[in-house]
Amino acid sequence: MRTVLIVDDDEPTQQLLAALMRRNGFSSVAASNGAQAISLLGSNEYAVIILDLMMANVDGFSVIEYIAREGKEVPVIVCTAAGPRMTDTIDRGVVRAVVRKPFDIAEMTAIVASVTREPSRG
């Protein structure tokens, strides 16, 4: 079973995404901040990362930078309550989709399915 890394500081949102991913056939691991996420990425392979941006103790932008710098081949879906002004400058080489909170669970399901169905780029 492929695993999704859920990075979000809001616990109810973590639980919702975990339940949604399980229903779609993924297992999931949750991180409450960027520091935990980077630590997990260092030693694990994930099918996809669902990443919040505004978090305590290393935010989502730093995680994106880390992935770009390390050349990790993991697709990233940004899931944020922040507005377009904050997501306009996101590194589109790493981030495959931006989903705004509150999100439609069908849309999130479709996006996860679409980015995980493709073979790895390159």
Binding site: D10, P12, T13, Q15, L17, D59, A82, G83, P102
Partner: protein, 545 residues
Amino acid sequence: MADRDSRNDAEPPARTAVSDFANELPLFIDAVQDYAIFGLSPTGVIRSWNVGAARILGYHADEAVGRDFSLFYEPADLFSGKPQHELDVARKEGRIEDEGWRVRKDGTRFWANTVITAVHNADGSVSGFAKVTRDLTTRRLAEERLRESEENFRLLVAAVKDYAIFLLDPTGHIATWNAGAQAIKGYKPEEIIGKYFGVFYSDAENAAGKPALELKIARAEGRFEEEGWRVRKDGSRFWANVVITAVHDETGTLRGFTKVTRDVTVRKRADEVQRALIEQREARLKAEEEQRRVEASYRAAQEANRSKDQFLMILSHELRTPMTAIIGWARLLPTLSPSDPVIPQALESIARSADLQAQLIDDMLDVSRIVSGKLRLNLQMVDVADVLNAAVESVRPSAVARNVTLVTSLAGDIGLICADSTRLQQIAWNLLTNAVKFTPGEGRVELSARRTPSHIEITVKDNGQGIASEFLPHIFEPFRQEETPQTRVHGGLGLGLSIVRYLTEAQGGTIMAESAGSMKGATFSLSLPLGMKATEELAWNSGSR
């Protein structure tokens, strides 16, 4: 005096019978030193001689008596027959007075005042003459010096080219004219002397009576001075510095006015250029100042806009976050099996998120009421311990979830206070929530309260991340959090502490935040008066904050 006395004796002509005039002279006349007093025969032969005569004319009595009195006259007077003429007049009119040069024995001249008085016999015939001579040389020389001095002064004034200096008679008609006046005003002396000095003024000023007014002021105050436009003979104008001074004689009678006028047109133009430059510079500085002010207010407006944008961005983020779980679970739950073990967790998530959102909305509404002055307090006697314990219990779940130890230390005698129970609990809840939020796991938050004779003092102390010293002064300002949106690590709108301060002050209290710095914990100290005066309550209720 002597000559006047002798004249009095002569009017009416003395009818005293005097046979030997010399013998009749009183001894005191003989002793007079300041006047030469001597008797003459009807033909002018000297008959008597006093001490004064000897002193003034230089002859001893024996040198003078028996000689003709023409001895003392200058050759020119002798040539014109002046001595004989004087005797003729005195004989005919009783008396003659003269001033003129006379000659002493040593040939030196002196300026003499002489009075010759006829002395009559009983039959009316002239028996002789009394002559009184005074030496006025000193006075004469002084007068000459004065005249010379005056002449010099007149010449000096006449020659001055840079100043128009002239005299006006008491009615303002020009009496004198100097070279400066001619140079400045263009009139020759013969063209202007005798004219009214109003010719130097414009028609409008003459019509308004300005020249007469200036004389009136000079007369009343001694002096009139001004700078103003005056008119030359050719009609051109010049900028004049004018001083008019009233001149009085020794009896205080107005004799006229001196008028001194300078043409200061060049200086005036220079002043105007200078002033124009200064005004230009001031205008430029003012414009620059205005521009700075506009820029500052523009920056302030931009800053306010940025703050508002930032706040709206945060508000949007904070409202959307709990909605994610609420909406997401609402859509997901119907697709799950009723026995799915995640369902209780889902319901708990929805409830927590809804509570968080409700809290945000309440804070927003409170701030809105505060800003519009519509927040109302419901004051009553409140049991402080009950209220604080209720606040602690409502915060405890999140403290437990964050593994933060929550300690309460309330004094036993804390008792009652006149306050708004709901708002007091809100204050305590906000301070505790804030402390828990900024205290990491294994941390500790302590609420303590004690009663003083006049106040209740409540303290919330944590050993969490503290407050940076540069942010401490802003800690109670609305929409302020110690972070920017990009780096903000804690949720919330940054309204809690501003609401706490408002509610505290609205109930007559004070609040203070202390922190030794980052990672050194923070202490919030609240002091509320035991009883709040009705006037203060009214003031707050009608306040416009």
